[in-house]
Structures are given as structure tokens and as C-alpha cells.
Symmetry: C2
Subunit: 345 residues, 2 copies
């Protein structure tokens, strides 16, 4: 495990070193990172259509998908708050708290897997998780279908979204529709994207210094690609354990999924897109200050006490990752009727 | 109290009677009811501006106005669900339930007062209530101001909304901004509005029969005007007590506000606009079936066992009160920073 990380770090240092020599920050950055595309990517086996995206948006906002009728996808992944809820861990059924900080839904389509431990392969699989998690939406797949079937307006919406399906109100289609909507939640055009696309003026001097420090110090070993993260699993505390507050011993991360010893305290590397909008940080949500999060990463992952200049500059660079936020028209949800299954708070 | 209602009923019967004679349903309806205007009304002492409406929308959706950062105005008055939450009574701080069913925010600007007991004179006063209600958003006025002051993006938004105010982040301005946004939440162009505006074809035969029955049976004595209600206070159970389930003896309604004996079990007459979208019904939220609500009104308020034909027809008429739902673009909320006051779930 350590070997894998260190080899990653090493190659990062090598490339960053050569970049410094060539004094071509933009070219090196273009090697490590990719801009968010202007249009949402297609999902394998789940083609998008306007009707499916609209249905997915309705489902994303419909609290009737939860047992209490009080919680929707948007409760924890708020489209007006960077795709998160600004909580350490979310409040769910009966005011219970979730086990880990809610990751942003924005640009999640570009991650190699979903959830902090990557237990869902993709958005479609992820969408099924919170529905049945007893501390989140706390319902069952069967009841979701029964609930939606009991809302007449959804019959037409599912037919339009899945025109070739004779029985379209199925849990698989609920997840497919939510996934195609979520795939639209991308945030292109951040200053850093403009920079990657060749606009030298899109980052200021401090942000460029931060980008350089981000690469020189080896952050880029894990935080690269389109999301500056989201492409690997890595242990938290590879060099120095960040302490029980940030790494509680009871949560072994990906180990709980794989049962492999090398996956103890391994988590998906979070993407850094819109990171300035999404405190608090880490899977525990215990760090509210982005600068402090940068310092922790330095010591825990890299074994470096980053200089305050580096911390300031890297944080300024991270602010350049805030892209255009999605413009979402609130869906008009189909009404309940006397026969619609009722909430069970 | 009874005298007041009965005199209202009497005049309603008289007018309805004359209407029947004249066989001019539309003309009588135009006497009793007014269409929702195409544009929001102005609020006295609180002029609207684009910046103030936008700020109000941000505040309406911002969960950081609650102590837990988990509840916003939109949690209970959902803009995609007829302005309600489709709950008997809402879930608030620590999963506590509210005392009465959440009334719709849509067209609330046309009501004579706000809340079921009318304890707030207007939208501006109402907006302050849930913020500090311990079972709802459970915060304090001081903390709301402190919270917003700790979110840098709100500084500019308040300055733009209140350009003549040297210290604009004040609780009064929070309420004013929310009120001007809420005043935009009107639903014009329902079939019934089109009918009132002269389109004979906007109601079908059953809906016209329902309208006739609505007037003939005396519903119109209380449910008239622009909102078909919202203009009077009346006792619930004036002729026959609807039972403890619908009228729990512990909730004396407006009496708690005025302490006047004649206000025992008196409530604001709810408006009927979009009523088909907003189950469950009554201040307890105990009736989910609109037809059953119509029957209860017949026995409790009018002392009439409405015929099933009348119930069906009146319900069909009530469906004609569903107007164009507001088209709301979800606001992009200003980010929290390391210094922003944190949630207290």
C-alpha cells in the first residue's frame, strides 16, 4: 500500500521537477489535469434524454422517496450549496447522523467509483444507497416503487423517460433517472479550467504559485485528473496518523468493502473541484478551515510541514477550482392523491 | 360568533339563489371571487426590487438560517410541492413535529393575516416566526444576524437589496427580503381564473356544477375572494364538532392569540387555491382525501350531509383552482468560510 503511494509520489516529483526546469507551468499542469467539459458525459448503458433528465430531477428533489417524506437527495447534496449540505455528517431519519461527510454530487460522474469507500461502481448504483440506509432515507426498494406508483403524475413521467419499458416504475429505472440527472451536475469554466484551456491570465500570481507548490510538494500524486482526485483509493495517514478525531479507528474505510488488510483506512481520494464551497473536509467532516485541511494533508500524506506561504498559495489555487454552478429550475412535483402512500415519520 | 357566520351564510344563500334565478353562473362567480393577478402585489412599506427578491430567495432556501443548518423555509413550504410539505405537521429541530399543518406559501400574500390563527399580520411578520420556534428552525434573531454576517457573500447581497441602509444585515431586513420573495409566489391562470376572466370553456360541466353547488350550499360564505378563503376568521365546528381528531380540545386556535372567549376554536379560513396539490387538510392535517375534507366541511360548518354528487362536483371544481406553479431557479448560496458560525444539530 505504502509502496503504491510512494511510487506515485515519486513520479509526481519527477514530472514536477522537470516542469520547474522547463519553467512551463501551464504545460505541466495540462499533463496532470484535465478541464471539466462543457457538456455532461454519457453514461454507459444509460443513455440520457430530456425526459429522463427531467424525471431524474423530480426524483432527486422528491422527499416522498424517503420513509418520512422529509428527506430527498437534495437534502444532503444541495444543488445551491456546492452539492453538499455543509454539515460534518448529514442528518437523516429521526435526526440520526450519517457515518461520513456527504461528498459533493457535482462532477461526481468523473469519479472512478462512488461513496468515500467506493462501494458503488457508479452514480446509478450510488443512488440506491441512501434510499435504503436506515440513518438516511430509511425506506425499502419495494416501498419506493409502491410510493411512486401511487403518485399518478409519475406514471407518465416514467413512460416518457423509458419509452421501451412496459413496466417502467422499477427501482433500477429510479436509479438510472437520478444518475442521468446527476451527470448533468458538472461545473465547467472554473478559472483553472480557463487556464488549462490556455488562458494565462485566468490564474493570478498567487494561484500560479499555489499550483506550482501543489505539484512540487506531491499533492498531485493523488489529486490529478479532471477532478483533481476521485481516480484512486489511498490510505489516510500514510506518513503520519492524523489523529483519532480525523481518522477514528472504528471506520476502516475501504476495508469494510473489500476485507483486504491493505485496504484498512483506505478511502477514495476526494476530488477538489469547488472545494472552497464544500466545508467541512475529510470523511469525518471535522476540519472546517480549508487551510487547515491543506496542512493536514501535508503532514499526514506527505510527511511535510508545509510552509505558511505554501499553505496560503495552495489554498488560493484551490479557490480557482470553483466552476460555474449548475442552474437548476426547481421541478414541479406531481401531486399526491388520497390513494398515495403516506409518510411514516 | 355563530351569528356572524350564519349571517354570512344567509347572504351567500341569497346571492346564490338570485344567481340561480338569473342562470348566470359566471356573473355570480365574478361577484364572489377574483382571479389571481398576473403580477405579484406590492407590499406596504417594503418595496420590491430584483436584488431584494433574489436575496429573499437565497434566504428562503438557506438552511443556515436554522440552528441545525438543516432546515430552511423551503423545507416546510416546498416550492415544488404546492408550497407545502405534504405532512400532517412538519418535522423540525430534532425531528420534533409542529403543532399545526404547514399552510401553503403560495398566494399567502393575499390572506388577511398569516398562520392558522392569524397571529402574524403579514408575510414579513410571519417570516420571523419559524426561525425562532423551538420545534422548527430553533434559532434566535441574534444568531440569524450573526450567522449571515459570518457569510461574506451575504454582505454584498444585503447591500444591493437595501442600498439606503448603512447596516443592512438586520433581522427586519431578513424578514422583509423573504416577504418580497414570497409575494412573488402566486399561481395565476388556473382554469377557474380563466373562467372568471370570461372564458366559458375553461371549466367543464362537472366543474360548473361544482361551482354552483359550492355557492348554493353556502361554502362561499367563508371561501370567497381572491384565495377562496384567507379573508376571515371562523370557528371550526360551528354547527357540529368534527371530533377530537380534527379539532383537538388542546388547540383553541385564535383564542391563544386574543384570549377572547369568542375566539375559542376559531381559525383563519384557509384559502382553497391549489388545494388539490396540498394534502393533508385542516389545521391538524388529519384528512388526506379532498372529498372527505369537503364532506367534513358540509357537516361541521354547514350542518349539511352533502350528496355524493355534490361532493364529486365540488371536488372537481376545487381541482380547477390549480394555477401555474412558480418557476424558481434554485439560488446559488454564498459559501461558508472558516469563520462562519457552524451548525448546532
Amino acid at each position: 500500500m505504502q509502496k503504491r503511494v510512494l511510487s506515485g509520489l515519486l513520479s509526481a516529483f519527477l514530472v514536477a521537477g522537470s516542469a520547474q526546469a522547463a519553467d512551463d507551468l501551464m504545460a505541466v499542469a495540462q499533463d496532470f489535469f484535465k478541464p471539466i467539459p462543457a457538456k455532461p458525459p454519457a453514461l454507459e448503458g444509460n443513455p440520457a434524454s430530456a425526459a429522463k433528465i427531467e424525471l431524474g430531477k423530480m426524483l432527486y428533489f422528491d422527499t416522498r422517496l424517503s420513509e418520512s417524506h422529509n428527506i430527498s437527495c437534495n437534502s444532503c447534496h444541495v444543488v445551491g450549496m456546492g452539492g453538499v449540505d455543509l454539515q460534518e455528517t448529514s442528518l437523516g431519519q429521526s435526526w440520526q447522523t450519517g457515518a461520513r461527510n456527504s461528498p459533493t454530487v457535482f462532477n461526481a460522474v468523473f469519479n472512478l467509483a462512488q461513496f468515500w469507500d467506493g462501494r458503488a461502481a457508479d452514480l446509478e448504483e450510488q443512488a440506491g444507497g441512501p434510499l435504503v440506509n436506515p440513518v438516511e432515507m430509511a425506506t425499502t426498494e419495494g416501498h419506493v416503487v409502491e410510493q411512486l406508483d401511487g403518485i399518478p403524475g409519475y406514471h407518465e413521467a416514467f413512460r416518457a423517460a423509458f419509452p421501451d419499458d412496459t413496466d417502467p416504475i422499477r427501482i433500477e429505472n429510479v436509479q438510472k433517472a437520478i444518475a442521468v440527472f446527476e451527470a448533468t451536475l458538472i461545473t465547467p469554466n472554473a478559472p483553472f479550467d480557463q487556464y488549462l484551456n490556455g488562458d494565462e491570465t485566468a490564474l493570478n500570481a498567487q494561484q500560479k504559485a499555489g499550483l506550482q507548490a501543489f505539484m512540487d510538494n506531491g499533492c498531485v500524486a493523488c489529486h490529478s485528473g479532471i477532478n483533481l482526485g476521485g481516480e484512486q483509493f489511498q490510505p489516510f495517514g500514510v506518513v503520519e496518523n492524523p489523529g483519532e478525531d480525523l481518522l477514528p479507528p472504528g471506520d476502516k474505510g475501504r476495508f469494510d468493502v473489500s476485507q483486504l488488510p491493505e485496504d484498512e483506512f483506505v478511502f477514495k481520494v476526494p476530488g477538489l473541484r469547488n472545494i472552497a464551497l464544500t466545508p467541512p473536509y475529510f470523511h469525518t467532516g471535522k476540519v472546517w478551515d480549508l487551510k487547515q485541511a491543506v496542512r493536514v494533508m501535508g503532514t499526514a500524506q506527505l510527511g511535510i510541514d508545509l510552509s505558511e506561504d505554501d499553505v496560503e498559495n495552495i489554498t488560493a489555487f484551490l479557490h480557482s477550482l470553483t466552476g460555474d454552478q449548475p442552474r437548476i429550475v426547481y421541478p414541479v412535483l406531481p401531486p399526491s392523491t388520497a390513494e398515495t402512500p403516506r409518510p411514516n415519520p
